[in-house]
Amino acid sequence: MIEMLRPQVSSFAGEIDSLIVMVTLIVGFWYLLTKGMFLYLLMAFRAKPGQKAQYITGKEKHLKKWVTIPHLVIILCDVVLVAGAVRVWYNVKQFMPEAEQTIRIVGQQWAWTFVHPGPDGELDTDDDIAMIDELHVQAGVTYHFMLESKDVLHDFSVPVFRLKQDAIPGRRILGWFKPEVAGEFDIQCAEMCGIGHGIMGAKLYVETPEQHAMWVNDNSLTEVAAATQTEVQR
C-alpha cells in the first residue's frame, strides 16, 4: 500500500514496508474487534425503561476470562511484532554490508553537501566530486555514507529509501543504502534545524551504470567541482 504513495527504491524499502503492513494487520485486527465489541455493547445495553443494570464486580471467573484471554493473545502478538521489528532494525541499522562506494554527506543550515568519490572510487582524494543539494548514485551499488553536520542537528531522510538518520555536529555517523530503481527523488531534512528547515531539500538521482559513468565523467576534475570541494573541506 505504501509503494502506491511512495516507490520503493532501496533494497530494504520493501522489508520496512512489509513490516508496517504486518503491524497494521495484527493491530488492525485487534482494533476492529475491540471497537466492534465496544459498539455492540453500546447498542445492546442502552437504557431501557424498567430494566436495571446487572451487578458485576469483575471478580467473576467466567467474566474475567473475557479480559484475560485477549490480554494473553496480545502478549503473543507483541512477541511477533517485536521479532519483526528487531529483524528489520537489525538489517537496516545494525548490519553493514560491504561497501562498494562511500560518500560523505554534510548538513548545514540549510543545505546538503554530497561528496562523491569520483572516478577512482575513493573518498578524500583529489578527484572527489562535491555537489550542493544533489546526490548522484548508481542503482545496484551498495553505498556507505558518512553523515556529518556543521552546525545543528539535521536529519538525512530519503522517503523512497525509507531511510532516516540524524546528523549530529561533532560526530561522524555511518550508514548504508543500496538504491535499486533509477529515477529522480527527494531528499529532505527531517529534524528541525532553524528558519530554513522548510526549504532544506535536495535531489537524489539514482542512475543506471551508463548514466552514472557519464555523470562522473562530466563532473570530475572540472574547475567548478574543485572549487566547491575546497570550500566544502574547509
Binding site: Q94, F95, M96, R171, R172, I173
Partner: protein
C-alpha cells in the same frame, strides 16, 4: 525480560550509531546513565512504598488485630 541481555549481545558493535561514532566510552556512558535514570525513581518510590507497607503492617498489628482498620497505603 530475560531476552534483553541476549539482544544486547546479539548485535555487532553498532555501526549506524552516532553515539558509537563518538567512541565506545561514550556509548557505554549513555547505557549506564539510561539504566541509572530509569532505575533510580523506581528504587526511590519503591523504597517509600515499602516503608509505608511496613508501617501499615506494624500499625495494624499493634492496634487492630482484625486488620480491617483503614490505613493509608503505599503509593506506587
Amino acid at each position: 525480560m530475560a531476552l534483553l541481555p541476549v539482544l544486547m549481545m546479539l548485535s555487532t558493535p553498532a555501526l549506524a550509531c552516532p553515539v558509537c561514532g563518538g567512541g565506545g566510552a561514550n556509548a557505554q556512558a549513555y547505557i549506564d546513565t539510561m539504566i541509572f535514570l530509569s532505575a533510580l525513581p523506581l528504587l526511590l518510590l519503591g523504597g517509600v512504598a515499602f516503608f509505608f507497607w511496613w508501617k501499615t503492617m506494624r500499625v495494624t498489628v499493634d492496634e487492630e488485630p482484625s486488620g480491617r482498620l483503614p490505613q493509608a497505603r503505599p503509593q506506587p
